[in-house]
C-alpha cells in the first residue's frame, strides 16, 4: 500500500533549486533513511514533504488516509527551545494541536493520548520537569512523544541523534526501530550515519549529484553502497 510518493519532485527555497527530479514511493510500515552530504538538500526535501516549503515542480502524493498535516515531525532543535520554560507535559500535548482545529482547549482523549505517549517513550516520570533542564536524549524523547501525538501513521525525523553520545544514540535508534516494528509506523529519517541506516532501514534514499532510491540490498549492490563497504566500515550486526 503506497502511502507517500514523490513524482519528478524538485525542491529548493527562495527561488533556488537544490534537488531536482526526485522519484520515490514508500509503503506503509517502511523504514526509509535519507543519506547524503551536508547541504545536499535533505532537510529541504523533508520540509517540502511536510508542506513547509512548496515544491518547485513535480508532485507529492499522499494516500490511504495520510494527509501532510497528519505526519509526525521531529525537527532539529532550535535556539529558541534551549532556553524555553515549558514542562514536558505541556510540550508533549502540544502535538495534539492539529486535532483541535478551532477548539481552544484539549479534551480528555487528547490528554490521555499525551500520557500514553509519554509512557511509551519512558518519560512519564519527567512529566512536570522543565524541558531545558533535561539531557539531550531525554529532550529527544519528549519531542518524539510530541510527534507521536500528531500521528499514528508516519514519522519524519531530521537527524534525531545529532549531538547525542553513542549509548543514547543507540537507545534512540532502538526506540525508532520499535515504533516501526511494533506500531507499524512508517519512518522517514535523515541521518549522516550510514552504518545505522544499513542496520535499521528497509529503504535508502541517497541524494547528492547522483540520486539513488531502492531497498537496502539494492543499495549495497549499487556503487554508493560498494563505496561505503570498501571503506571497511560495514556493520551487519
Amino acid at each position: 500500500m503506497v502511502q507517500l510518493a514523490c513524482k519528478n519532485l524538485s525542491v529548493g527555497y527562495e527561488g533556488k533549486e537544490i534537488l531536482h527530479n526526485i522519484n520515490f514511493s514508500i509503503n506503509q510500515g517502511d523504514y526509509l533513511c535519507i543519506v547524503g552530504e551536508n547541504g545536499s538538500g535533505k532537510s529541504t526535501l523533508m520540509k517540502t514533504i511536510l508542506g513547509l516549503h512548496s515544491p518547485m515542480s513535480g508532485k507529492i502524493i499522499t494516500e490511504n488516509g495520510l494527509a501532510s498535516t497528519k505526519i509526525g515531525y521531529l525537527p532539529q532543535q532550535t535556539v529558541v527551545q534551549r532556553d524555553f520554560p515549558a514542562s514536558v507535559k505541556e510540550i508533549v500535548i502540544s502535538g495534539c494541536q492539529s486535532r483541535c482545529g478551532f477548539r481552544p482547549f484539549y479534551n480528555r482523549a487528547e490528554k490521555q493520548l499525551a500520557i500514553s505517549n509519554m509512557k511509551k517513550m519512558g518519560i512519564e516520570n519527567l512529566a512536570s520537569r522543565c524541558y531545558r533542564e533535561l539531557s539531550g536524549g531525554q529532550q529527544q524523547r519528549v519531542l518524539l512523544a510530541r510527534a507521536l501525538c500528531a500521528t499514528q501513521k508516519m514519522l519524519l525525523l531530521d537527524e534525531p541523534v545529532a549531538g547525542l553520545d553513542p549509548k543514547v544514540t543507540e537507545e534512540m535508534y532502538e526506540i525508532i526501530s520499535s515504533l516501526s516494528k511494533n506500531d507499524g509506523i512508517t519512518i522517514i529519517m535523515i541521518t549522516h550515519d550510514v552504518r545505522a541506516a544499513l542496520k535499521y532501514a528497509t529503504h535508502i534514499l541517497h541524494i547528492g549529484d547522483d540520486v539513488f532510491f531502492g531497498t537496502k540490498n539494492q543499495y549495497l549492490c549499487h556503487k554508493f553502497g560498494k563505496e561505503y563497504q570498501s571503506k571497511g566500515m560495514i556493520d551487519n550486526g
Binding site: 527562495e14 508542506g51 498535516t69 505526519i71 520554560p85 505541556e90 502535538g95 481552544p104 522543565c130
Partner: protein, 283 residues
C-alpha cells in the same frame, strides 16, 4: 502608618485616581501576558519599534487636532506591526534594519511635527509626558477608561482562547506549521495584540518605557518558574502587583507614574534573579 492609609483613602476618593488604578492594573495584566512569547520568540525589539511608531502617530493626531487620538494611533500601530512582522520574517538583517528605520523615523518625524505645529506653550513638557507618560494616566476621560477596559477584555479573551496555539507557535513554529497550524496567522494575531497593548500602555508609562512593562515581568518569572503556564500566571500577577505598588508610591511620593512602575519592576527582577540563583544552588 495610620496616616499613610488615611492619605491613600483620601486620594482614592478622587475619580481620576480610581481610573488611573483600574486602567493601570488592566494594562499591566495585558502587557505581561504576551511578554513571555515576545521574549522567547525574540520579538521584544518589535515592541520597542512599535512604541516609537505610536509616538509618531500621536504627534500626527495632535497636529490634526483630533479629539480622540486613539482613532489614528491604534490603526497606524497595528498596520506597522503587520508590516514589521512580514518584512522581518524572511531576511533577518533586513528585518532588523527595517525596524530601526521605521521606529527612529517615526520618533524623529513625530517630534518634528510637534515642534512645527506646536499649539501648547509647554512643548518639552508635552513631549516628555508622551515619552515617559508622566501625567497622562491621571488625566484620563471616562471614554478613554471604557475604551481601555474593553480593549483589555478583548486582549485577555483572545489570549485565553488561543493560549494553546500561541504556545505551540512559540515553542516550535516549524512543527506547528507541519501539523497544519496556520503559524503565519497566529504570528499576525500576536503582532496585532502587541500593537493594541502598546497603544493602551502609552497612557500608563509613555512610549519609551512600554518595553519594560512587557519584558520585565516575563524575564523575572522565567528565572524562577519552569512551565509555560506557571511563568505566564506568575508574570501576570507580578506585573499587576508592581503596577499597583508603583501607582501607590507615585501618588504618595509625587513621583512620575511610569518610571516608578518600571523601577518597581526592576526591583522585582533583581529579587527574582536571586531567588532563581538560590533555587539552582539548593537543588
Amino acid at each position: 502608618m495610620d496616616n499613610l492609609f488615611e492619605k491613600i483613602i483620601f486620594y482614592f476618593q478622587f475619580p481620576f485616581v480610581q481610573y488611573a488604578f483600574i486602567v493601570g492594573i488592566l494594562i499591566a495584566l495585558c502587557s505581561s501576558l504576551l511578554g513571555v512569547t515576545l521574549v522567547l520568540k525574540r520579538f521584544s525589539f518589535i515592541g520597542d519599534g512599535l512604541s516609537h511608531v505610536a509616538f509618531g502617530a500621536l504627534a500626527v493626531s495632535g497636529v490634526l487636532r483630533l479629539t480622540n487620538d486613539m482613532l489614528v494611533v491604534l490603526p497606524v500601530t497595528i498596520l506597522s506591526a503587520v508590516l514589521l512582522l512580514s518584512t522581518g520574517k524572511n531576511a533577518k538583517i533586513k528585518g532588523d534594519a527595517a525596524i530601526a528605520m521605521i521606529s527612529v523615523g517615526a520618533l524623529a518625524i513625530g517630534y518634528l511635527l510637534m515642534n512645527i505645529f506646536s499649539t501648547s506653550s509647554n512643548l518639552s513638557g508635552d513631549v516628555c509626558s508622551t515619552l515617559f507618560g508622566s501625567t497622562s494616566i491621571l488625566s484620563l476621560s471616562k471614554a478613554e477608561v471604557w475604551l481601555c477596559i474593553i480593549l483589555s477584555i478583548v486582549v485577555l479573551l483572545v489570549y485565553i482562547l488561543f493560549y494553546n496555539k500561541i504556545f505551540s507557535v512559540t515553542f516550535d513554529e516549524n512543527f506547528a506549521r507541519a501539523t497544519g497550524i496556520k503559524a503565519g496567522a497566529y504570528n499576525l494575531l500576536i503582532a496585532v495584540i502587541i500593537a493594541v497593548i502598546i497603544v493602551l500602555a502609552m497612557n500608563l508609562v509613555g512610549s519609551l518605557l512600554i518595553s519594560a512593562l512587557v519584558i520585565f515581568p516575563a524575564l523575572s518569572s522565567m528565572r524562577v518558574f519552569k512551565s509555560f503556564r506557571s511563568v505566564t500566571v506568575c508574570s501576570a500577577c507580578l506585573s499587576v502587583t508592581c503596577a499597583s505598588l508603583g501607582i501607590l508610591v507615585s501618588i504618595l511620593a509625587g513621583t512620575p507614574v511610569g518610571s516608578t512602575i518600571v523601577a518597581v519592576d526592576i526591583f522585582a527582577f533583581i529579587v527574582f534573579y536571586f531567588i532563581g540563583l538560590i533555587k539552582k544552588v539548593g537543588i
